[in-house]
């Protein structure tokens, strides 16, 4: 592992007033896995975009095998053997896997595409690296994890020797992520060099040979995996010690939301199948499951955006019919949607409009919006929930993901809801923001709110939930108590095996 394949030397890049990269140097040896660790906005993605030629650095340069790479030329980067797997894939959903992989590899002047040769090479790469794929499947029909595999294969097909992965696990389930990292280690053993960008300490410690920590655009530390700990990395990354809040036992209150046999049928498929649960005041009920098992439907039914097909819902002891969004909001049910950017806020609207949109009737008189009251409400959320990066009048798109989530949490929790439906509340957030969001959820629970936590993150559910139910194929397991449940048992429940589970 002595041969230096790639060298990033003293790279700086400024965007307006912010210095996104400040004199960063980094080297990568053959067969090495380097993790680029840092919070959102630390400059990781900027650095990788410079490496791949999407941006031109203000100063500094990049050398591959000792040769300078011309700045700002993605094609030169590809020719030099650099491949990039983006967070949002750059693949065409209407083409097949093979067509996607071969796109851009053949001259446009070629009369016919040589698909047979392409297929042979693709299958050979697929076998060699254990990246299973069906070359004739339409890309849009594949799961996110499978699409990512195609993106990796496309880089390999382009003779990549250095592979850059931008937050590769952000869209994957735990199981898919473990599979991916096993593949990455195997690729490194076969001589490929890898850089992966991450803010998750577990995966960094499990996979990387070397860890480079970025903070505020600077390289603050470089550690070998054996020579550091998760705690040290967390502190280096955030710049101060971060403690995730801890849940303390407390007796639950009365049942506030009760579901019996709730079924949702959509597009001829039962998305929810006879779901039962009881949600108590002052408790967090965790719904754990791999993505795509009915979580979206469950939160939609409870949030008022979908009508259940059959089944009973009892809210505060009284049976309720179809719920509309205004009814749900007026009943004191707070809602955190799973996709905050597409469902939670409207990026082009100012903060204050996003703060009041779901309760416009309260902030209006005679059909006119009461701007002053609405702006004051937004300001209260900003102050009370530590939303940074904007005033009530600035456009919401300018906020970071963590601050958007704090705005969404704030507009729900500032009203002291009796029930909170929280879908994937910390997904994609950095350490500091995760701690803040978890702290708020536990504070709401301690204040007597009933929290339904829908999550794919085992650690999150173990940290926050009092009782846990698994969701598999639209069915809910019986609830188990957090205190008497092991992670391994939850893993089995997520796979649909809950015969031995002790209901509570």
């Amino acid at each position: 592992m002595s041969e230096t394949l790639l060298e990033i030397a003293n790279v700086s890049k400024r965007f307006g007033a912010t210095l996104a990269n400040d004199d960063i140097s980094l080297s990568l040896a053959k067969g090495e896995i380097v993790a680029l660790l840092g919070e959102n906005g630390a400059g990781k993605t900027t650095l990788m975009n410079i490496l791949f030629g999407h941006y031109q650095p203000d100063s500094g340069h990049i050398r591959v095998m000792g040769k300078d790479l011309p700045p700002g030329r993605p094609l030169a980067a590809i020719r030099a053997g650099i491949g990039m797997v983006h967070q949002h894939f750059s693949l065409a959903p209407n083409l097949t896997v093979l067509e996607n992989v071969m796109t851009g590899t053949e001259s446009l002047w070629r009369p016919v595409s040589d698909a047979a040769t392409g297929r042979r090479r693709l299958m050979e790469l697929s076998r060699r690296f254990g990246l299973e794929t069906d070359p004739d499947a339409r890309l849009g029909d594949l799961s996110v994890g499978e699409q990512q595999r195609v993106e990796v294969l496309k880089s390999l097909y382009n003779h990549a020797r250095v592979l850059i992965l931008d937050e590769p696990t952000a869209v994957l389930t735990t199981i898919e992520a473990e599979h991916l990292f096993a593949t990455l280690r195997d690729m490194a053993r076969q001589g490929l060099s890898l850089i992966f960008i991450s803010h998750k300490l577990d995966e960094v410690m499990a996979t990387a040979d070397r860890i480079v920590v970025l903070r505020g655009g600077r390289k603050v530390a470089e550690r070998l995996r054996g020579g550091t700990t998760k705690a040290e990395l967390a502190e280096l990354m955030v710049g101060r010690a971060v403690h995730r809040p801890e849940r303390k036992m407390s007796p639950p209150g009365e049942v506030v939301l009760e579901a019996r046999g709730v079924t949702l049928r959509r597009g001829g498929v039962d998305r929810l199948k006879a779901v039962d649960f009881d949600l108590h005041a002052g408790e967090v009920l965790g719904i754990i499951g791999v993505a795509g098992n009915g979580q979206t439907s469950l939160s939609a039914v409870l949030s008022g955006t979908a009508r259940r097909t059959t089944g009973e819902l009892r809210l505060f002891g009284a049976a309720v019919g179809d719920l509309s969004v205004p009814e749900v909001v007026d009943a004191g049910i707070g809602r955190i949607p799973e996709d905050r950017n597409h469902e939670g806020v409207i990026g082009e609207m100012p903060l204050w409009e996003n703060a009041v949109l779901e309760r416009l009737s309260r902030f209006s008189r005679g059909g006119l919006v009461d701007r002053r009251a609405a702006i004051a409400f937004a300001q209260r959320i900003i102050d009370g929930f530590d939303v940074r990066g904007g005033t009530p009048l600035s456009r919401t798109r300018l906020l970071s993901g963590g601050n958007i989530q704090k705005l969404i949490l704030g507009r729900n929790l500032i009203e002291h809801p009796r029930i909170l439906i929280a879908a994937q509340p910390a997904r994609g957030l950095d350490e500091g923001a995760v701690a803040a969001v978890h702290g708020r959820i536990l504070a709401a629970r301690n204040a007597g709110a009933a929290v339904l936590l829908i999550s794919e993150d085992l650690d999150e559910v173990m940290a926050l939930a009092d009782r846990i139910q698994a969701i598999v194929g639209g069915r809910l397991s019986p609830p188990v108590a957090r205190e008497t449940t092991e992670r391994g048992q939850l893993g089995l429940m997520m796979a649909g095996e809950w015969e031995g589970a002790h209901a509570v």
Partner: protein, 349 residues
């Protein structure tokens, strides 16, 4: 050359973007004028004096601007909510024929104070009705309204053509296919004597202010903007998407219908199939040029009208076809689309 998204969109830039666009369009049109062998600066001067140089010219420009303001507002309101109403031309004709028919057959003889409002409301309702059909098809069957509204233009104009050659044909018109005229008491009063400028201008200006107020200050306006910017988030926040779009369609179709009514009640007094030289389509250009802002629509409509009236005058005195007006307006739209892009992106070094 490479583009980067701007973190902040500066207000100054948004305001001067249309000015730069218009200047760029005029400069490009200047190249064409020069190619046609005419002195460019003189041509510009003739356009300017032709559009504003005399009382008659100025009133003529404003008269032309009235239907453009209304169709521009119709497009701006709809586009804000991502309802692609390309059918203002048809809605305009239906509005015009509704006003003319009602005045000739039923409301004729009523005093102005009653008749004018009745005719205007009827025209607005006719415009609305025509837009509600494609909206229903979209909400019920997800049919793309770009296609349906566009094609309904031809249906509407042929329908009007059938009426004015049939039941509504004016027997006094020497066989020409034109509708019976609006009753004298149904005509809009003139703003300036011995000109064509009529009270429809005041109506259009007032409606621009009303639309602006409704969009920025009311619950309905907030919801329609939310629906246009991000329908998924709007639904999550409890915006009734279907109902909001129906309301938007009623306003948009109503405004286009009114455009037809004021043209017939203010200028021509009867409907022919040449009532509108494409006001419905030009309204889309006007709305885009105004970046969908209702007050901007007024300015964009006056600019567009000035180009047409001014180019007419210029072509009479110089040997340049009036098509230069079409070209300049089209170029200004293209320049505006580029300018809007640059309010959101910058060129990276």
């Amino acid at each position: 050359m490479r583009f980067e998204r701007r973190a902040h969109r500066s207000t100054v830039l948004v305001v001067i973007a249309p000015v730069i666009a218009v200047a760029a369009a005029l400069a490009l049109a200047g190249v064409l004028i020069a190619l046609a062998g005419s002195p460019v600066l003189t041509a510009y001067e003739r356009i300017l004096t032709g559009a504003f140089g005399s009382r008659l010219a100025a009133t003529e420009t404003l008269t032309r601007a009235v239907p453009l303001i209304l169709t521009g507002l119709a497009a701006a309101v709809a586009f804000r909510a991502r309802l692609w109403n390309i059918g203002a031309e048809g809605q305009l004709y239906l509005g015009a024929i509704a006003a003319a028919a009602l005045s000739a057959e039923l409301a004729g003889g009523l005093p102005s104070i009653l008749q004018i409002p009745i005719l205007l409301v009827a025209a607005a309702l006719a415009g609305m009705a025509l837009l509600l059909i494609p909206l229903w098809l979209r909400l019920r069957f997800s049919v793309d309204e770009v296609v349906t509204t566009l094609l309904l233009n031809f249906v509407a104009i042929l329908f009007v053509s059938m009426l004015i050659d049939g039941v509504l044909k004016d027997p006094m018109a020497f066989g020409w296919p034109q509708s019976k005229p609006i009753d004298e008491d149904g005509m809009l009063p003139k703003l300036i004597p011995r000109s064509r400028l009529h009270a429809g201008l005041l109506l259009a200006l007032a409606l621009a202010v009303v639309v602006h107020f409704v969009q920025s200050r009311t619950v309905f306006g907030t919801r329609s903007r939310a629906a246009g910017l991000n329908a998924t988030a709007a639904v999550f926040a409890g915006v009734p998407l279907g109902r909001t779009l129906v309301q938007v369609a009623m306003i948009s179709g109503g405004l286009a219908g009114l455009a037809g009514a004021v043209e017939v009640m203010g200028v021509t007094s009867y409907v022919t199939t040449e009532l509108s030289p494409g006001y419905g389509y030009s309204g889309i250009v006007v709305a885009m040029l105004a970046n969908l802002h209702p007050i901007g629509v007024v300015l964009a409509a006056i600019f567009t009208a000035a180009m047409f009236v001014g180019a007419d005058a210029m072509s009479r005195s110089m040997a340049i076809p009036t098509y230069i007006a079409d070209v300049t307006v089209a170029l200004s739209l293209l320049a505006m689309l580029v300018a809007i892009f640059f309010t959101q992106y910058r060129i990276a070094r």
